[in-house]
C-alpha cells in the first residue's frame, strides 16, 4: 500500500481543493495517469500519479480543502494481487455529477456505455440537452467514436450557421443559443488549453505598396484587401512551421488535413462565428479574396455551411478595423493556434541608422503549449513576417 498525497504545485502552494476524482476505488492506474483535479490559486490542475497499481480507497472527497502532503487516496502498488472490481453498469448522471463533470476537460472520462449504443459522455449529454441538439445526429470524434461535449458544441454551432434561418436573413439566428455555445467553447478553451502568447510588429509597407499598385490596375471585382495577404501569410507559415495547424484530440496533436483558416466574424446583432475558408494554402490570392467576400456575405445573411463551421484548422482574428492595436485571442478548441492582428498604424522605424515612418501591424500568436512552445511560435511569426515582406509570393 502507498499513499497518494496532495502534491505541491509550486513553491507558494500551501493548500489545494480536490475538485474531482478521475478514478474510483478498484480502478487500475498507471504511471502518468491523471487521477484528480485540484484547484489551487493558479487554477484547476490535473494531478497525475507516478506509480502503477490499483486505487484501494479514496480518502478525500470532492470539495475538501487539504494541506500539501495530506493523503488523498490509498493505492495498492503493483506486485501485489489486486482484485479489480467489475466496472459498474452505466447509470444516467445525476445533476450533481453532471455539474462536477462540467469542471472536467471534455477529453477525459471515457464513457462506459453498453456496447451497441452510441457512447456519449455525461457532459456531452448535458450540453446536448442545453443546446437542443439531437444526439443521434451528432458524429462522435472521441475515443472509439464516442460523442464528446465538443462534438455537441460543434453540432450546435453548425446548426446556428446552417441555412435553417429564414432565407437571406440573419435575423432568425437564436443569439442566446449562440452566446451559450460561445460561452461553452471559450470556457472549455480557457479551462483546457494552456495558452501562451507571443507578439511581433510587422512592417506592412511592402505589402501595402504592392496592393496599391495591384489595385490601381484591377477592376473593382478583383480588388484585393490587405486582410487577404494576412490570411495567406498565416496559411503558408502554418505549412512551414509544424504544430500550428490542426487539433488536440484525445491527448495528442493531429495535424489538419489541409489548411482551413477559420475567420472570426463578429455579427452586428451580437455573437461571433468562426467559419473556415478551405485550403487557403492551395488558393491563389484572387481565389482567397473571392472566398472571403463570399464567406462574409453568407455569414451576414445566414447561409453558412456546416463544413465551414466544423473544418477550421487554425483561426485568424483581425480587430484592426475596430482600432485595436493587439489581440491576445482565445484558441478555438480543438484547434491549437489563433493568430490575431491589430490595426495598421504609422510608427517610427529605424533602418540603416535612419528613422522613418512605416505602416506597422501587430501580429500575435496564441499557441497551445501542449503542442508547441514559444520557440516554435516565434518561428511561426517570423515566417509570417518574411512572407509579408514578399507580397508578390503570396
Amino acid at each position: 500500500m502507498s499513499e497518494f498525497r496532495m502534491p505541491s504545485l509550486g513553491a507558494d502552494m500551501e493548500f489545494g481543493t480536490l475538485v474531482d476524482w478521475r478514478v474510483k476505488s478498484g480502478d487500475r492506474i498507471k504511471r502518468g495517469d491523471v487521477v484528480a483535479l485540484v484547484e489551487t490559486e493558479k487554477g484547476v490542475i490535473e494531478v497525475e500519479i507516478f506509480e502503477n497499481g490499483v486505487i484501494d480507497s479514496l480518502i478525500v472527497q470532492p470539495g475538501q480543502k487539504v494541506p500539501v502532503g495530506a493523503t488523498l487516496a490509498i493505492v495498492r502498488s503493483d506486485g501485489k494481487t489486486a482484485e479489480v472490481q467489475p466496472a459498474p453498469a452505466a447509470a444516467p448522471p445525476s445533476e450533481a455529477k453532471a455539474a462536477v463533470e462540467e469542471l472536467r476537460p471534455a477529453t477525459v472520462a471515457p464513457p462506459t456505455e453498453l456496447p451497441g449504443r452510441a457512447r456519449v459522455s455525461p457532459l456531452a449529454r448535458k450540453r446536448a440537452q442545453e443546446l437542443g441538439v439531437e444526439l443521434s445526429a451528432v458524429t462522435g470524434t472521441g475515443e472509439a467514436g464516442s460523442i464528446t461535449a465538443s462534438d455537441v458544441e460543434k453540432a450546435a454551432a453548425a446548426k446556428q450557421g446552417a441555412p435553417v434561418a429564414p432565407p437571406a436573413s440573419a435575423k432568425g439566428l437564436d443569439l442566446q443559443a449562440m452566446r451559450r455555445v460561445i460561452a461553452a467553447t471559450m470556457a472549455r478553451s480557457k479551462r483546457e488549453i494552456p495558452h501562451y502568447y507571443l507578439a511581433t510588429t510587422i512592417d506592412m509597407s511592402k505589402g501595402l505598396n504592392w496592393l496599391a499598385a495591384e489595385n490601381s490596375r484591377r477592376p473593382i471585382t478583383k480588388r484585393l484587401l490587405y486582410s487577404a495577404l494576412l490570411i495567406r501569410a498565416v496559411a503558408l507559415a502554418a505549412c512551414e512551421v509544424p504544430g500550428m495547424n490542426g487539433f488536440w484530440i484525445d491527448g495528442a496533436f493531429k495535424p489538419g488535413e489541409g489548411v482551413h483558416v477559420g475567420v472570426a466574424i463578429s455579427l452586428r446583432q451580437g455573437g461571433l462565428i468562426n467559419p473556415a475558408i478551405h485550403d487557403v494554402d492551395k488558393k491563389t490570392l484572387d481565389e482567397l479574396m473571392e472566398s472571403m467576400l463570399d464567406l462574409v456575405n453568407r455569414a451576414r445573411t445566414g447561409h453558412l455551411r456546416s463544413s465551414e463551421l466544423s473544418d477550421g484548422t487554425i483561426t485568424v482574428t483581425n480587430l484592426g478595423e475596430q482600432g485595436v492595436e493587439s489581440v491576445f485571442g482565445v484558441i478555438y478548441p480543438p484547434q491549437v493556434a489563433l493568430v490575431g492582428f491589430g490595426k495598421i498604424t504609422e510608427r517610427p522605424f529605424a533602418s540603416g541608422g535612419l528613422v522613418g515612418a512605416r505602416p506597422m501591424i501587430e501580429a500575435t500568436l496564441s499557441g497551445d503549449h501542449r503542442v508547441s512552445d514559444g520557440h516554435r511560435g516565434g518561428r511561426f511569426l517570423r515566417a509570417m513576417d518574411g512572407l509579408l515582406q514578399e507580397p508578390e509570393r503570396l
Binding site: 489595385n215 471585382t221 480588388r223 484587401l225 452586428r268 472571403m292 462574409v296 451576414r300 478595423e321
Partner: protein, 83 residues
Amino acid sequence: MRESEIRQIVREALSNVAPEVDLDAIDPAKNLRDQIDIDSVDFLNFVIGLHKELGIEIPDADVPKLGTLNGCVAYLQSRMKGS
C-alpha cells in the same frame, strides 16, 4: 437615371451586405462606416454590388468618395452622366 432611382439602388446594395441595418436610421450626409458596423469586406461587397447593378467601373482611387450615402449617389450620378 433619376437621383431617387440611384438612391434606391444604393440602399439595396447596402441592405444586401447589412440586412439587419435600419436604413432609415442612417444619416445620408454622415460616414457610413461610422454609423453602421461594416468592415472592409462588407464595404467591398457593397461597392461591387453597386458596380454590378449599374455597370459602372469604380476605380480604387474613387472609393473614398463612396463614404456616405449622399456621396455614393452624387458619385454614381456623375459617372453615369460622364459615361
